[in-house]
Amino acid sequence: MYYQKDLVDKYLLALEKEIQKEYQGDILSTIYIGGGTPNCLNVRQLKKLFAILKPLKKSPNIEFSIELNPECIDAKKLKILKENGINRISIGIESINKENQEFMQRKISQQKIKEKINLVQSYGWNNINLDLMYGFPDENLSTLNSDLSFLLSLQPKHISTYSLMIEKHTKIFNQKITPISEDIEAKMYKRICKTLKENGYIHYEISNFCQKGYESKHNLCYWNNEQYYGFGLGAASYLENKRKINTKNINNYIKGNACLEIENLTQKDKIIYQIILNLRLKEGLNKEKFQLMYQKGINELYNYQELIQNKWLKEDRKKLFIPEKKWYISNSILIQLLEGEVQ
């Protein structure tokens, strides 16, 4: 988000209104403050943000996360976070490679990052996630190796990885940069999985790794197809039979026109979401739960025998899952699965 001071205040006001209007008083088991917003706020605004969140009812063992850029971490802000019950911190390190940082228009040294993380730890947080980005144009495996070693030296509880996606209508897309080849990107993914596993991390979702017991509860809620609120610019929610996405246009949002699109879900849509989200997980799709939710077994709704024979899908008595080795072509597997819909 483009940083403009007076806009931030107006934005916070609109956010407060949205929460007041939409929140139904449920007890929340996770809250995630993300999307870059927290980094734009000054101390006063950050305090205001927590005041806005005050009415949300929190479960006693809530996972309360915030996303931070390493550059924006400072003692004053950390103090406020601590006072307001944040218990998980996600830091977007992305890459320590100079070229990669230039590509993202960032500049921060390894030393600086270490200092910032030490600062965070000094406030007592140990549930820390670090983000790793890979697949930059012209990136090679040795760049990735140094990023991985650096990341591991920081011993985070959780690591999220992303391959660079050049989206249409962005500045980078318009520069017509040649994306990295499919083959190298696949090799990088393999390298990440192997290295992190060797260092004791559990690969519990396509792009997510953690030490035992440190799965992101918030993100599991998405992949388990559970319901959630989403407040703020560009936020998404899933409530009752609707999936909603908010506008990314700040002016519209400030005017109170938050909602951009609503998808009304049929039973079949819900089933499709259940499948495509669950199959991102190592745990896969729980067949018993599926049966309870939809009154039919997944094998009654979809014929996926060919996928099983080709070992693109595996199943046991309890679950159906995509084996980790095939995660990287999971879209094709999901399409074939959905094509096998029993008429």
């Binding site: 391959s163 499919e182 979401y273 879209n331 094709s332 597997i333």
Partner: protein, 601 residues
């Protein structure tokens, strides 16, 4: 109508040399239509089209022209304009005594100018050479005159016209009267009439275009078709002026239309001789050839449930196209479709395009094949129009393929590259003729299959588009032919099999597998593509397994996007044909044809 006052002629030209504008101008000058009427006429026929769904094609028009106090009757006969239809052209010419040979004043003589001229001379026509478009700034009349002189015309014979401004048209009309002979033929002899075209009208059945050579034909006569041996009673005779005008009879030298409750255009063969059943002529007119398709291909609907729609489309097109043949065939890879026969590649493309456009059926067409002849070890001779009909190797004694005489017309600087090209295409050089110092015609014997493959594209590229060519079938020659199969993931894809000249098999095989590799997207597993002759693999490449197809990031807002993305990818797969376990896009079937033209489609 006095026979000596009749002139039957046609206009022949290389494509785009101004044939139809010249015809329009003649219509206007003979007052058959003034400009306003020309418009009215069009409106009339459009209304007719709207009301009754018919179109009338003016393929023979009667025009009247006053000259030296006498009324002359012109029959202007239209001819199809492409080499694929050269037999029809020759029959239209046979209905005439004269021809106007139109040459563009800036382009000069080109391949079809010569091909058409020779056809006209074969039919003993009197030819009036015309240099048209003399109004163009780029016109070079002197040069074109010299070219015409080198092929046997004298300067005095040549008429200079501009169909655009009307210049020279009157002179041309006078020449038609003075030079083109009137028809001969005794109107009292037994009937002998030539069928030179036919047309299907959904309300009146088949309309037959005829030229009476000898004798007289009346309404209610019972006619006998000497080739098809069918009989009909004539229900109506008419001429086009260009409005249709009913007449009681047509006699020797005249051109007109015949109606006889004929239901199918397949019953009327162009070139057939019509006579009277009870008073037949003793001999047929010369020059008849049964219509024979030269090129075959398989046409399949992409969506299997469109098979019946495709049949209907082909049947409808066949109503007005006697040269289109088809029969159902099945392919393991493509399901149910039709084996279709065409006069040539252009004809094939026209039909495919019409099916896709007018009938909205998405097609997969297999690569075109010529008709091969096989002499089997048991001595039987068979003809095959599809690689799937090729007998086993041990049953084959001899293979033969059709050859054509190709006439390549080119600026002399390209002789070298053209000869090299023809050599590479197994051509046999016959001779060459210089038109002038800069231009010549090369004559080659070439296998038709090479022409069907990519000869024309190569010719265009080695001569930068300056050469033109035409060809005619000359017969079959023994040739070492083999069937080459393409295997995807170890399975033969029948629709991709082709018959090739053995020595070319390796390089063809390599080209095809490489091309398929480009076209077929990566699959979830590695897919070997092989070219094989029998069990012998002659070329191989692999499509690597898909490495990455995942939405790596899938949190709150990404979730609906993920579903949309999957739905879109799923939709995209529908445009592919699943062969075994491999998803193959439609273009793959044409990739066997490595022509650049096909690639553009």
């Amino acid at each position: 109508m006095k026979q000596e006052n009749i002139r039957n002629f046609c206009i022949i030209a290389h494509i785009d040399h101004g044939k139809s504008t010249l015809a329009d101008r003649i219509l206007e000058q003979t007052k058959a239509l003034d400009k306003r009427e020309l418009k009215d006429q069009m409106l009339d026929s459009m209304e007719l089209e709207r009301e009754r769904g018919i179109t009338i094609k003016l393929n023979a028009v009667q025009l009247t022209y006053q000259y030296q106090d006498k009324t002359y009757y012109f029959h202007l006969i239209d001819t199809p304009g492409h080499v694929d239809f050269s037999y029809e052209v020759s029959r239209s010419l046979a209905a005439c005594e004269g021809a106007i040979l139109v040459v563009d004043a800036s382009q000069g003589i080109e391949a079809q100018t010569l091909a058409n001229l020779y056809l006209a001379l074969d039919n003993h026509l009197t030819v009036i050479p015309v240099i048209n478009k003399i109004d163009l700034p780029s016109a070079n009349v002197e040069k074109v005159e010299k070219e015409l002189e080198t092929i046997g015309f004298s300067k005095e014979e040549i008429v200079l016209t501009s169909a655009k401004t009307g210049e020279g048209i009157n002179e041309l009309l006078k020449k038609i009267i003075e030079i083109i002979p009137s028809p001969k033929g005794n109107k009292n002899k037994p009937l002998k009439a030539l069928v030179f075209d036919s047309l299907y009208d959904p309300y009146r059945g088949v309309i037959v275009s005829i030229r009476i050579v000898e004798g007289t034909l009346h309404v209610k006569d019972t006619i006998y078709m000497m080739e098809t041996k069918a009989s009909y009673e004539v229900t109506r005779l008419s001429i086009n002026t260009p409005k249709e005008k009913e007449v009681e009879s047509l006699q020797a030298g005249e051109v007109g239309y015949l109606y006889a409750s004929i239901k199918s255009i397949q019953d009327i063969h162009v070139g057939d001789t019509i006579t009277i059943k009870d008073n037949p002529t003793s001999e047929k007119l010369p020059g008849y050839k049964p219509m024979k398709p030269m090129v075959y291909c398989g046409i399949y609907p992409i969506e299997a449930n469109k098979f019946e729609d495709l049949r209907e489309a082909l049947e409808k097109l066949q109503l007005n196209d006697a040269s289109l043949v088809f029969e159902p065939e099945t392919s393991k890879a493509l399901g149910f479709g039709f084996r279709c026969g065409f006069l040539g590649l252009l004809h094939m493309e026209i039909i495919e395009e019409r099916i896709e456009r007018e009938f909205k059926i998405n097609l997969i067409a297999t690569s075109p094949s010529v008709i091969y002849e096989i002499i089997k070890t048991d001595g039987k001779k068979i003809q095959i129009d599809s690689p799937s009909k090729m007998p086993k190797k041990e049953e084959i004694k001899k293979t033969l393929e059709p050859y054509v005489l190709a006439n390549i017309f080119t600026p002399s600087e390209y002789i070298g590259p053209i000869m090299e090209l023809c050599q590479n295409k197994r051509g046999t050089f016959l001779n060459m003729e210089y038109i002038d110092q800069e231009r010549l015609t090369l004559h080659y014997e070439l296998p038709l299959s090479e022409i069907v493959y990519d000869f024309f594209d190569h010719l265009k590229s080695v001569t930068k588009g300056y050469a033109s060519f035409d060809y005619e079938l000359i017969g079959y020659k023994e040739s070492n032919l083999v069937k080459m199969d393409i295997l995807l993931n170890g399975e033969i894809v029948d629709a991709l099999s082709i018959i090739v000249y053995q020595e070319f098999a390796h390089s063809r095989g390599k080209t095809v597998v490489e091309k398929l590799k480009e076209i077929i997207p990566r699959q979830m597993f590695e897919v070997p593509i092989q070219a094989a002759i029998g069990t012998h693999i002659i070329a191989r490449t692999d499509i690597k397994a898909m490495r990455k197809n995942v939405l790596a990031k899938c949190y709150g807002g990404d979730i609906t996007r993920k579903k949309k993305l999957l739905e879109k990818q799923k939709e995209g797969k529908k445009r592919m044909k699943k062969i075994g376990s491999v998803e193959v896009p439609q273009e793959a079937f044409l990739s066997i044809l490595s022509t650049s033209e096909k690639k553009d489609k």
